[in-house]
Each structure stands twice: as structure tokens, then as C-alpha cells.
Subunit: 401 residues, 2 copies
């Protein structure tokens, strides 16, 4: 039952957080603008911004628009003063990045592919690499990690991982939450991607969006009314295991006709091998095999194009489900399959045009992620950045009152 | 970007609302208990409860547990001091009820069945009846209305109504929002039902639940983290138009294989007529025909029982989708089809047991609504009551400061 703002202390933190988030989303603002937007008194604004300047989180920028009045001095978030580490865990891929609070990637490492039996080595490798990064950079305040779903947030465990079940034995909270000098926060990959789109993306509406992850797995992160749809165990929006065909193929999760089995990069890789469409596909990573197919389709290979379109239709059925089930203002496609680009997007939109509720589809933008890096890796950073933006004093200490 | 508690005035209203909601959910509480639960200072509690007592919303109950100390005096919400009207619109059914703030039904009217061509008469009849009720009872503070979905909340219009499209021409906001001496609030039926379960139901977790409406239509209202999942246009959670079979029958909405077509009371009524299972079913209402079938099945008619089980399996597939897509702590089945009782619930649970993600299904309770009245009618009242509980001074005036 505890709502934000219940005590004086948390009220102050809430207002600090709201100012930081406003500056994060809007860029440079005057104190007067902030006061109007947030309904705070000039006195409150003066006090809180002074605290944030003391904390080094916010700085003054000089006069706005050349107007030399006290009230026209701009304030901006010092996005580069603090950094976060993002870690993306996929089935066979692990990637580590260092980001500033604005989501700008400063450095990146790709680990050797994860194989069955080598997960323990990978986890130890991740820890060593993070410790090295932390030792070299005192400005890092938090770590965010994105893992395949369905992820049971309170338990720290992945419930089902099709095609690579060993990940189920990892407890991410036990492994990582307290393992470093800064806290680590763990979230399901597509939900992390949705946070990245909301915090770092250029989309029209950061308060209502779905990030539709179509990679080694298929997942969804859904922001409704400004917050993630969580579910009781933090495992909501598992679109990959929503059935699109009750007479369809059995899935490892127990259901039949799960969307994931029709349009993941793992399934496409299998279809590429079965069809003999890419030479040497058996020995390739999922990403490499799919990318090779997309190139052939772009170069005019009709068989390759037909296969991309077939998978795109299933991705489109997933969009129809997302629109009717969650009614977001925008759906952003990301990860390996989204690399197919316009030839995929056009087919997805054609399916949505035919099948989604007309009143909803006409108000739902469908795009491919335009984040400069992998949305899940950005998302891992966003998980950490969101914690900082919401509870700044937990990371940089309480200001003098 | 406006969060609650941004100004002094709304902060006071937020705290009043939180106290009222705590008393609503927990019954009688001492001031000390409220202070602990909400993290408010004793001085703040004393001031706010004095205001609420002045407003007549809360009253003192004498000593708790026979302990004669000032701090042990109980406070309770005067749920019977204010009343709300609830109106349920279904395809052919309209029902009006008068409720207290605790969701207790005080009187009820069922209007004559709505027929194609008579919707205008029905709307006028509803207005006349509400005016009569309002004239006779000055304690009524608001009206809530529940309408079939997908309902576009900002437009006031229903986007699709299978089997009775004329409802699409009604603009509920224009018709009703300002038509009476008290405000009227309109919400989609299943979402209203979810509010009723959360506010008035006896369920374990009012902050995470799905109300699965299986009546003339099929819908879902989903409460996640204490609030309704809304979507961009207020049309989220349209489970009735989520496809369970991409090779399935076309639906009037444009999609194929929509859940609604497999398990609504309208579909069951059609199957009853086609199978010749209930004498005179052609001339019956959907409710009457389905109820007659349920009786036959209970009396041991194998053909009737097989049909109930077939529909229950589809309802079960819907539950699997709800669990994997929203991960609620509980799913509550309600409306016409839920009247089939245990024979339906057992089959639903068997499908869930086979197909839902095991980590999620084991933590999801599935029950039939135990509200004493139609959950959608209760829900209409809940829509009005929720407005009162959240913004009490908008209905009974600002307290002296």
C-alpha cells in the first residue's frame, strides 16, 4: 500500500527524481519551466536544484536564448558525470558495455560464445571483466543485467529457456546482486529493451510502448502509463509463449503453438539449414546465419526472400496480439530478426493492417529500433540508469538539507 | 509527467485517499495503525482524520479490544453514508443498481431486453430511471457505467461489438457524462469487473488480478501493481480478440481465430440451437439458454456435459494466454459462462495445468467470482466508488484547512 511521497524524506527524493527525469527527457530547462511542468513552488525548485548542483548531478548552462535574466539560466543533467555498466545475456551471446546516464555507449566487449557446459566459465569471466572495469573507472554507480525470460524477478531464476536449458540453473541474484562494489540490478531482456526505448529512444511516446524482441528468443517489454507491466512474479508479457495456434507444434514450455517457435532467430537458423540456403550455416552463430540470409534476400534471391517474408508474417501475428492485448502507442521491433529491415517491416505491417482491431492499429506506430546499439544491451544499462534516476541519493549520498 | 503529490493540495488529497482506501480494505483501524501503515506522522494523521470526520466520510467507533486508551479508538469508513449508481450495458441486457461505497447492492432494476433498432429507446429509458433514482436519494455522489469492449475511453465509443454492431453508434460520453446532477464515469465491462474484484472482492491479492469476463462477449480487466493496465486509448487487455488459432474462423473484428468466437455465451447459444439440446432455445435469451444447458449437464446429460467441457477447454486456453501474457496472482472467472460452476472450472484448470508456464501457473489462483451480484454491475459501481475513494473532495467538497 505504500505510495511514493508518504514521508518528507521520500517526498524530497521524489521531487529530485522528477526534476532529473524531466531534464533527462527534455534536455536543458529553466527553473521556471521545471516549476510549471511539475507544479512546484519557486522556493522548492530553488532549494532542490541547489542540492542537485551540489551533488554534481545537475549543472547550470548560462543564459537561454540570449536573454540575460536570472530566470532564463538553463539547467542540464550531467549525463556524462556518472556511468553504468550494462550486461546482455542471451542464449549463446554475452556482451558488456559501459554507458553514460544518457545511454551513450563508451566501450563494449563481446565474450566468446557460450556453449553447453561452459556457463560457469562465462559467469566467472563476466565477474572478472566487470571488476577490471570498476577498478579503472570510479564514476560507475550501478550495473544492469538483461537476461532471457520468463525471468522470475524475486527468485533470480529464468523459468524456461528454449534451446539452451542450462541457463535455468543459474541464480542471477545469488551470482551478481552483491558481487561488486556497486549494486547490480537484473531484468528480463525485452523489459530492459523497453526501458531503453523509453529512457534513451527517440520515440514519440515514452509512456506507452512495447519493445518486441525477436532474437534468439522472442519476448516483449511493455510500458503502460509510464511504467513496466510487471505481473505478480515480474514475468508478465511473455509474448513468446503466447500461443498463436492451439493446434500447433508443442513447445518446451508445455504450451502448443508458441509464437517463439515460429519466428525466432533460432527457428530461422534451423530453416536455413533445412533449406540449404546459406553455405556452411551449420557452423555459424544464429546471428551470422540469419544475417547471411538477409543479405541474400536483399540481393534478390527469391527463396531467401520468401523465407524472410514467411517469418515476418508470424512476427506480424505477434504484433496483432500485442496491439489487441496491450494497446501500446508504438511497437518497436528489435534484435537479430529486426536486422532484416524494410522487407520484414512491410510484411509485418501488412498482417497488422489485415487483422488488428482497426481503431487500435491506426493509432499504433510500428518501427524498427533506431537505438545505435543492441536494444537489450542498452536496456541493461537502462535498468541501472532508471534506478539512478529514481533514487539518486542511494547512489551519490544524501544532500545537506 | 505529473505524478501524484506534486503540490501541497494534491498531497493532502493523496493522503486522505490513502487513509480512506486503507479503511476500505482493512475495516476498522486505530490512528496508530494507520500512521504505521502509511508512514505518516501522528500530527498528520490527527489533522487528516479530523478533516475526514468533519466531511462525514469517516467516524470513530469507540475503543478497540476494550483497551481504554486514546490511541486505541477505532476509525471506520462510513460506507453507507454515500451511494453510487452502477449501470451494466451488455449486448442485449441493461441493468441498473444502487450500491453503497462498500459495494453492497441496495436496489436493482433489469430493463427490457435490448433489440436491434431499440437502442435509442433503451438509452432514454436509462436516463429517465437514473433521474428518478437521483431525485429520491440525495446521498448518491456518482454514477459508473460498464460497457462492452474494446471501448475507446477518450472517444466514448465502442470499437467493435460482435453480434450487435448498433452499439458502435452510441457515444457514451456525449450521452451520459454530463447528463445528471452527479458525474458519470464509463469503463469497459471487464475492466470494471476487475475494479470490483479489487475493491469489493474477497480475493487474496487486490493488487494483482485478472477478471475474465465470459458472457455475451469475452473480455479481460487486468490489475497489475494495484492499477488497471490501460493501453494508449484505454483499450488494452482485449483478450476476446486475441487469436488462439491463426488458421481459425474469421471474426467480425478483422482477426481470425479470436477467443471470443470459441467460448462466449452467444457462441454457446448457437451451439445449443444447432445441436437441438434445449427445447425452445431459439426464443430464449443467451443467459436462459446457457443456464438451461448447464442444468441438463448437472443432471447427467452426457451430450450437454460434453458441450460445456468443450467450451471450458477454450476458456482454459484463454487462461493460459492470460497467465503467460500478464502473470496475475489470480484469475477470476465471471458472467454467464461462469455459472456452469465446478464442471467448467475443473476443465479450465486441467488445460492450464497442461499448457501454462509451470512457474507461473503454480502461483496463479483460478476461481469463479464470489461477488454476490453480477461482477460487471458491481464493477460499474466500483468505477464510481474508485473515483470517490481517490478524489473524495471532488464529491463532498474541500475540508477546512
Amino acid at each position: 500500500m505504500t505510495a511514493p511521497g508518504s514521508t518528507h524524506a521520500s517526498m524530497a527524493e521524489l521531487n529530485r527524481s522528477r526534476i532529473i527525469q524531466l531534464l533527462h527527457h527534455n534536455g536543458i530547462c529553466s527553473r521556471a519551466h521545471i516549476a510549471r511542468q511539475l507544479g512546484l513552488t519557486p522556493a522548492a525548485i530553488t532549494k532542490i536544484t541547489a542540492q542537485l548542483i551540489d551533488m554534481g548531478v545537475v549543472s547550470e548552462t548560462g543564459n537561454l536564448d540570449g536573454i540575460k535574466k536570472r530566470r532564463s539560466i538553463g539547467l542540464q543533467l550531467n549525463e556524462s558525470k556518472y556511468r553504468v555498466i550494462g550486461v546482455k545475456f542471451a542464449r549463446t551471446l554475452v556482451r558488456i558495455g559501459v554507458f553514460d546516464l544518457g545511454g551513450n555507449l563508451e566501450s563494449e566487449q563481446l565474450l566468446p560464445p557460450v556453449a553447453i557446459g561452459s556457463i560457469r566459465n562465462t559467469l566467472d569471466d563476466v565477474k572478472r571483466r566487470i571488476d577490471v572495469i570498476l577498478d579503472a573507472d570510479g564514476s560507475i554507480v550501478a550495473i544492469g543485467m538483461a537476461v532471457p525470460g520468463p525471468y522470475l524477478r524475486d527468485e533470480g531464476r529464468i523459468a524456461v529457456v528454449t534451446s539452451m536449458v542450462e541457463w535455468r540453473d543459474v541464480n542471477f541474484i545469488d551470482e551478481f546482486a552483491g558481487a561488486f562494489r556497486v549494486p547490480a540490478f537484473i531484468e528480463q531482456d525485452a523489459r530492459a529493451g523497453a526501458l531503453a526505448q523509453s529512457l534513451f529512444g527517440g520515440g514519440a511516446n515514452p509512456r506507452s510502448l512495447g519493445y518486441y524482441l525477436i532474437g534468439e528468443g522472442v519476448g516483449l517489454g511493455l510500458i503502460d502509463d509510464g511504467g513496466l507491466v510487471n505481473g505478480n512474479l515480474g514475468a508478465a508479457t511473455e509474448i513468446g509463449h503466447v500461443s498463436i495456434d492451439i493446434h500447433g507444434r508443442p513447445c518446451e514450455c508445455g504450451n502448443v503453438g508458441c509464437l517463439e517457435n515460429y519466428c525466432s532467430a533460432v527457428s530461422l537458423h534451423r530453416a536455413i539449414i533445412d533449406g540449404g540456403l546459406v553455405d556452411g550455416a551449420e557452423g555459424m552463430t544464429h546471428t551470422a546465419a540469419c544475417t547471411a540470409l538477409f543479405r541474400r534476400a536483399e540481393d534478390g534471391d527469391e527463396t531467401a526472400l520468401a523465407l524472410v517474408r514467411e517469418f515476418a508474417r508470424y512476427i506480424g501475428y505477434g504484433c496483432v496480439t500485442i496491439i489487441n492485448a496491450y494497446n501500446p502507442a508504438q511497437i518497436i521491433l528489435g534484435d537479430i530478426m529486426a536486422q532484416a529491415g524494410p522487407m520484414l517491416l512491410d510484411e509485418v505491417k501488412a498482417v497488422v493492417e489485415r487483422h488488428a482491431l482497426s481503431a487500435l492499429r491506426d493509432t499504433t506506430a510500428i518501427t524498427i529500433s533506431d537505438l545505435p546499439v543492441d536494444a537489450t544491451l542498452s536496456g541493461a544499462a537502462a535498468v541501472a540508469a532508471a534506478q539512478f534516476l529514481e533514487h539518486p541519493t542511494e547512489f551519490v549520498g544524501q544532500p545537506d538539507d
